[in-house]
């Protein structure tokens, strides 16, 4: 199989997932497309350094996330504020509330969550990655990733319910 064909196959396989990851991080279709292109561009230059072919997907996601963070730093809009949500206040959001939310609202709510928390949450929802794999993609300890997902999820559900339906009592 030629290198061009291999590259094309790889693009076909992962561009959708990467684009959606980028879209959830940035909230912008143009930025998501740019991030996806940039990720594959980096792959074309450095992908041969990857020793384990099984971790191509994780490599691509890590690269896209890294490029996203670089962009945040360039634009000086990096926010690492913590989410102060307590596990005792778990929201009880009915599934129909999530079903009624449109994608645009969901992206807007995600955009309001601090970057440090948004990426693990997006990977938690969108990709079939284990917690360990999510931790590897983001270069964070497993415990940190789980804690961030939990707190970000509470915030997402709370904001979602404020937008659609009131939170039911626990």
């Amino acid at each position: 199989m030629s290198a061009d064909l291999e590259f094309g196959e790889l693009v076909k396989l992962y561009y959708g997932d990467l684009y959606r990851f980028g879209l959830s991080l940035t909230g912008s279709e143009a930025d998501a497309a740019d991030l996806t292109q940039e990720t594959f561009y980096i792959w074309a230059n450095k992908g041969h350094q990857l020793q384990n072919p099984a971790s191509v997907k994780a490599w691509l996601f890590t690269t896209l996330h890294r490029e996203f963070l670089k962009g945040c730093r360039r634009q000086n809009r990096f926010s690492n504020e913590s989410i102060d949500e307590r596990m005792e206040d778990l929201p009880n959001v009915p599934a129909e509330c999530a079903e009624r939310a449109d994608s645009r609202t969901l992206l807007r709510i995600l955009g309001e969550i601090a970057e440090d928390f948004r990426a693990p949450l997006v990977l938690y929802y969108m990709e079939d990655l284990s917690y360990k794999e999510i931790a590897d993609v983001l270069g964070l300890p497993l415990g940190t990733v789980q804690s961030r997902i939990a707190r970000a999820k509470i915030q997402l559900l709370r904001r979602l319910s404020e937008t659609n339906l009131p939170i039911e009592a626990k």
């Binding site: 590259f7 594959f40 596990m87 999530a98 994608s103 997006v122």
Partner: protein
């Protein structure tokens, strides 16, 4: 484990994808024995599925994959074993060339070992002497200033041979020589010659 603890653990449970994750096992077992918790778990899993479907439902622009493939940089295959072979060949070749050049240089331009001699003659400001043939008492003041300011100094013997005067390596002797500019002195020093240029490393100066 109580219901609250099980709920906190299961808050991150996503469904079948997490079934093999041991951290959920005990809490899932507990939920089987607690119908209310089981109901909550089903609802939260359904909620997860709904949000996942929304997020995964967005389709990228139609031309994006083609754009990515077109923008792909031309790969430059790097065969590191060949590159290191090439680097070694260049290194060996450069070393051999340098050695040959040095050997050739030594053959063509012999260097005579320094020998101690006594030379008597006029102290010159070499810049003015070589460029304008200026020397003698009429040029004494200029020579003094030039030598003091760091211009090269020399000595011209009565038989017309000229030596460049220097101090010990790294040490200027110009201040001392400036006092003898255009005067006839005897200098004791080490003579060495390269490419036809004679140099005298000054050890002692005596005015006649």
């Amino acid at each position: 484990m109580n219901t609250r603890e099980a709920k906190e653990i299961l808050f991150l449970y996503r469904g079948p994808i997490d079934d093999s994750d041991p951290q959920f096992r005990a809490a899932l077992d507990y939920a089987k024995s607690d119908p209310k918790l089981g109901q909550w778990l089903r609802e939260q899993t359904k909620c997860y599925d709904a949000l996942r479907a929304k997020l995964r439902g967005t389709e990228p622009q139609p031309g994006l994959p083609d754009k990515i493939v077109r923008r792909r940089p031309i790969p430059f295959p790097r065969d590191w074993s060949r590159i290191s072979q090439l680097a070694a060949a260049i290194l060996i070749s450069a070393s051999v060339t340098a050695l040959l050049m040095k050997w050739s240089d030594r053959r063509q331009r012999p260097v005579f070992a320094a020998q101690e001699i006594l030379v008597t003659g006029e102290v010159l400001d070499m810049t003015c002497y070589i460029a304008s043939n200026l020397s003698g008492p009429a040029h004494a003041y200029c020579a003094k200033v030039c030598i003091r300011n760091g211009e090269p100094a020399g000595i011209k013997t009565q038989d017309g041979k000229v030596y460049l005067l220097t101090g010990e390596p790294g040490q200027s002797i110009n201040t001392k020589l400036a006092d003898y500019a255009a005067q006839v002195v005897t200098i004791k020093g080490k003579k060495s010659v390269r490419d036809g240029l004679a140099q005298l490393q000054v050890e002692e100066i005596r005015k006649l």
